[in-house]
Symmetry: C2
C-alpha cells in the first residue's frame, strides 16, 4: 500500500478542518483534532483516524452537539461537576482543567464529574499530561451496552475503560488505559475489517454463546468482561462512578437508534486527581521508579504506555505514516 508521511501539525490541521466542516465550534475542533492526531501519532490505531467516521456520523445525524458550551458547577472544595450539554467530554475537561488542578494542589485530591457528555477517544491523551505535571490521575468512562456482566446473559455494561497515570522522577510517566471488557470495541471492529478471529473468551454471539467471530460480536452479540467476575465488578464500579455519581446515563440508558451511524456514547466521565507531592515519605516519582526497576529485575520488558512513547519518537522524527487511501479519505471529509 502506498504510504504518505505527514507531520503531527499537518494531521491536526486536517482533522480540525473535518470537525469544523461537520459543525463543531472552533475550540471543540481544536481539542478533538489534537486528541485524535495524538492517538494516530502514538500508534493507538483503534482511537486514531479510524474513529473519524464515528465522529462525523455522530455529528452529521445531530446525535452529539458539536457547538455545545459545557457548564461548570463548583459543588465543593474538592468536587467539580460539568454538564457537557450533549457535547463531547473533552471540552468539558478543558473548561474545568485549571480549577481541577488548583483544587488538587490545595486539597490534595479533587474530582471532576462530567455528565451529559460523549467520549469516543482513548483516555490517556488527557491524563498523561497530568502525570507530567506531578499529579496522579484516575479516570473512568462508561460507553454503550456491549458487555455482558459476569453471570448474566445480555449486555449491560459498556467497554468501560479505566485510565491511570502517575509521575516518575526522570522517565516517562506510568500510564495505562484499558477497556474493562475483554477487548476494546475499536479492536473488534479492526479485527472484523481485517478478517481476524478474536481470542477465545472475548465475546458471545446474539444467542449468548461464546464466539471468536468479530462480526458475530458486533452483530447482536456482546463482549465479556476481562478477568471473569473480578473484571465484571470493576466494570460495575465504572458504571456507578461514571453515571450514578456524575449524573450521566448508564451505558444501557440512551437510545441512538434514530441517529444511524452515531457512534459516540452519551454517558459520563469521572476524573480523580491526587497531588503526588503530598506522598508520605520519599518523592513519589523516585518511589515509582523503584517499582519499575523491581519489575524489570523480575523479567518484565513491556510496560503499559511504553509502545506509545516509542512510536511517538518515531512519528516525531519521520512523520506520521498514513496510506494514500487514508489520506485522501480524510481530505475528502475535510472538503466535502
Amino acid at each position: 500500500m502506498d504510504q504518505s508521511r505527514i507531520s503531527f501539525a499537518e494531521l491536526v490541521a486536517l482533522l480540525e478542518a473535518i470537525f469544523l466542516r461537520f459543525g463543531t465550534s472552533r475550540q471543540t475542533a481544536a481539542i478533538l483534532a489534537d486528541n485524535c492526531a495524538r492517538c494516530e501519532r502514538d500508534g493507538a490505531k483503534s482511537h486514531g483516524i479510524f474513529r473519524m467516521k464515528g465522529y462525523t456520523d455522530s455529528l452529521a445525524t445531530g446525535w452529539v452537539d458539536g457547538m455545545a458550551q459545557p457548564v461548570l458547577e463548583d459543588a465543593a472544595a474538592g468536587f467539580l461537576r460539568a454538564d457537557a450539554q450533549n457535547g463531547f467530554a473533552q471540552p468539558a475537561l478543558a473548561l474545568a482543567r485549571e480549577d481541577l488542578v488548583e483544587k488538587t494542589r490545595t486539597n490534595g485530591i479533587a474530582l471532576l464529574a462530567i455528565r451529559n457528555s460523549h467520549h469516543l477517544s482513548a483516555l490517556w491523551p488527557d491524563f498523561e499530561p497530568f502525570a507530567e505535571e506531578g499529579f496522579i490521575a484516575l479516570s473512568m468512562v462508561n460507553s454503550f451496552a456491549c458487555t455482558v456482566p459476569h453471570g448474566g446473559q445480555s449486555a449491560v455494561f459498556g467497554t468501560n475503560p479505566i485510565a491511570f497515570a502517575a509521575p516518575t522522577s526522570s522517565g516517562d510517566p506510568i500510564v495505562f488505559d484499558m477497556a474493562t471488557s475483554s477487548m476494546a470495541n475499536g479492536d473488534v471492529q479492526i479485527a472484523a475489517r481485517q478478517g481476524r478471529q478474536l481470542p477465545p473468551g472475548s465475546g458471545v454471539d446474539s444467542k449468548g454463546n461464546p464466539t471468536t467471530d468479530p462480526n458475530a460480536v458486533l452483530d447482536g452479540g456482546a463482549l465479556l468482561p476481562f478477568g471473569g467476575h473480578k473484571g465484571s465488578s470493576i466494570s460495575m464500579m465504572i458504571e456507578l462512578l461514571s453515571a450514578a455519581l456524575t449524573g450521566g446515563n448508564y451505558s444501557f440508558e440512551f437510545d441512538w437508534s434514530g441517529h444511524p451511524g452515531a457512534a459516540t456514547p452519551h454517558t459520563g466521565q469521572l476524573i480523580i486527581l491526587i497531588n503526588a507531592a503530598l506522598a508520605g515519605a520519599a518523592p513519589f516519582g523516585v518511589r515509582a521508579e523503584t517499582l519499575i526497576d523491581e519489575m524489570k529485575s523480575a523479567g518484565v520488558t513491556r510496560f503499559p504506555g511504553q509502545h506509545r512513547f516509542a512510536k511517538r519518537k518515531e512519528s516525531d522524527a519521520t512523520g506520521i505514516a498514513l496510506t494514500t487511501d487514508e489520506l485522501s479519505w480524510l481530505e475528502g471529509l475535510a472538503k466535502g
Copy 2:
C-alpha cells in the same frame, strides 16, 4: 465434626482476650477482634478465625507492634496521612475516621494514606459502614511479594486487594473486595489444607512453571494476577498508591525472615472517600438500584457481597457455627 454455636458478642470477647494476651493495646484488641469476628460471622472464612494464627505469630515474634499508637498528619484539606508506627492499619483508620468523614463532607472527596502499617484482614468490614453512611469508598492495600507481574518470572506484587463500597437507597450497599491476584493467599492456604487443586492459571511453582498444586504455589512458587496484563496493571497501580503515595513499603521491600510465622505484611493502605450526596442528578442510591435492577434483568443472580449479607442474617439468628476443635483452639490461645 462436632459444632458449637456462639454469639457474635461471645466470639468478639474471645478474640479480644487472645489479642490482649498476645500483647496488643485494649483498643487494638477491640478493633481487630470485632473485624475478625465479622469476617467469621459473614462466612468470609479465609479472613475469619483462620487468620488468628497469623495474628498471634506476628505479635509473638515482635514483627508487628500491638501497642503502637498511630500518628495522624493533616497534609491538606482533603489529604490525611497516618503513620501506624509498625502497628495494624485498622487502629490508624479508627483514629482518622472522624476527620476523614468530616473532610469528605466538606470537600466532596478526601483520602487517607496509611503507612508503616500491617493488614491481615479483608477490607470490606471497614468500608461497608462508609457506604451505609452515604459515602462511596475505595481502598487498596499491598501485601507481600507473592504475585508475578504479567510478563515477568518472579513475584513482585502482593495479592493487592481492592475494595469498593457504594450506597443504595433502600437495600444493602454494593460492596466488593477482591484480591488482584488470581486468588487470595488465604484461599490457597485453605485449598492446601483441604487437599484441593487450584483452578488452571492461578499460579506458578518455584521454577516459574504453571501449577494447580496449592503447596507448590506456597512453597517457593507464586500467584499470577487475575485477568492477564489488565489485572497486572491494576495490581501495579495498587502498589503505587498503597506504597509510593502513602510512604509505606512495597510488597517486596520488607524482610520478615527473622520473625518465623510472621504473616502480617508491613506495607501501606490507601483510602479514598467520596460524598455521594454531591452526585450530579438523581440521588446516587436510587441510581445505583437502577443498575442493580438492569443487571438482574440481564440474568445476574449473584452480586458481590450478597452472600455475606445472607450469611450474616443466618449467624445473627442462630449464632456463629464453629467446630468444637476450632473453639477449643481459640480458648487455648486466650488462656495460654
